[in-house]
Symmetry: C2
Subunit: 210 residues, 2 copies
DNA sequence: TAGATTGTTAATCGATTAACAATC
DNA sequence: TAGATTGTTAATCGATTAACAATC
């Protein structure tokens, strides 16, 4: 199952395949060909087959792909068959938004704790989860086997907090701070730079409307 | 100034250049060579020069690039010299998080209104902005010259609301709903699919730790 | 079996990197 | 002027698309 050297371009497309297959599944559709999927998703059928075949032959000649089976397989490839224990660091609106988002839990991403240094919200409950002071983070991470930390703190503290988290044994960081994090080998960082995204939109607005 | 046919790969890198140049500027650094920038940013000097030269020759042989000038130019390329009028559609935590994020306003993205159909929050103020009912959206968009709508609503209503917004004259949609939006030519959509991002992290956690 | 559609190899296209002449 | 570094062309690399033999 551990396939090596898959490019990030391919990996970036997997969640989208997963989403469309989930919709087909919910519609009760049993099978789909790469060509049909191509029509719906606006990518070439060739790319779909090429992408999938990085991980194995999930289809059948003359038939296509079984929707439910392919959905399950892609879920497995994405690691959605495993549970992940998450903490949120930074209980601002963004942190709260993520905790409240039900979809993550459905996919095996379980929020175990929320940490924030603001004494005003300390002790509050968000989505039934207690907001704890940062001093308790190390013990919490180690004891609860937290593997993913979600950084929704200002960029000023993000680098330092990320280093701490890594030293506590965290394996992945979902970074919303507007800064690039450098972490040791084996630690994964996935950054969501919201203002980068907005600037891209801004560029396309100015130049796309010639 | 309107350069055609720049690939999205290049455009995606511009905000990151902009960010690093801003930091250099704040540190009072006057000039930088592509090689120095390469060392800091972990991209090749060749790529930096190639990227920048899509838009013009901003450097000087034997000298490098003037930090402040290049910063300003990239800002201009990204359209940050122009003001954008935004509305938020969906006053949940995510919508509130974005409204409260001061950085956007600094870059010329001004939040003019917030819309939500939930009667419980209608009439509330968020960051000094009134939450209005969706029925007032059309008039508001047309009268205030809103050009960007931020969709922080569930995917169920996103497609329909996006269509409405386009018919009201919106030019860009910053989409946080977990659905792909299809819009007419000339309208720009920039999507932030948070769960896609989390799944990518999940994949890299499972496969990266072999 | 014939038809359909995959898996996979080969061809093309685009993006990145290297090299170097131009020039400050 | 000599040294440094860009702008730009050429070479390489990787990703996408096309084609088709394998096979259900």
């Amino acid at each position: 199952m551990e396939v090596k050297g898959i490019s990030q371009a391919v990996i970036s497309r997997l969640p989208r395949y997963f989403r469309y297959l989930g919709e087909l599944k919910d519609e009760g559709i049993e099978r789909v060909s790469s060509q049909e999927l191509s029509d719906i998703m606006q990518v070439t059928a060739s790319q779909i087959r090429q992408d999938l075949n990085n991980f194995g032959g999930f289809g059948q000649q003359g038939y296509g792909y079984n929707v439910e089976y392919l959905y399950e397989e892609i879920g497995r490839i994405l690691g959605l068959d495993q549970e992940h224990n998450l903490i949120i660091v930074g209980a601002g609106h963004l942190g709260q938004a993520l905790v409240n988002y039900r979809d993550f839990e459905r996919r095996g991403f379980i929020f175990r704790g929320i940490f924030d240094n603001n004494p005003q919200i300390r002790g509050m409950q968000i989505h039934g989860i207690l907001v704890r002071p940062m001093e308790e983070m190390e013990q919490f991470v180690r004891e609860k086997g937290i593997d993913i930390a979600v950084l929704t703190i200002p960029k000023e503290s993000a680098v330092e907090v990320a280093e701490q988290l890594v030293s506590y044994g965290i394996k992945g960081i979902w970074n919303f701070a507007h800064v690039d994090l450098h972490v040791p080998q084996g630690i994964q960082v996935e950054s969501v730079h919201l203002s980068d995204s907005l600037m891209k939109l801004s560029y396309n607005l100015s130049s796309g409307s010639i």
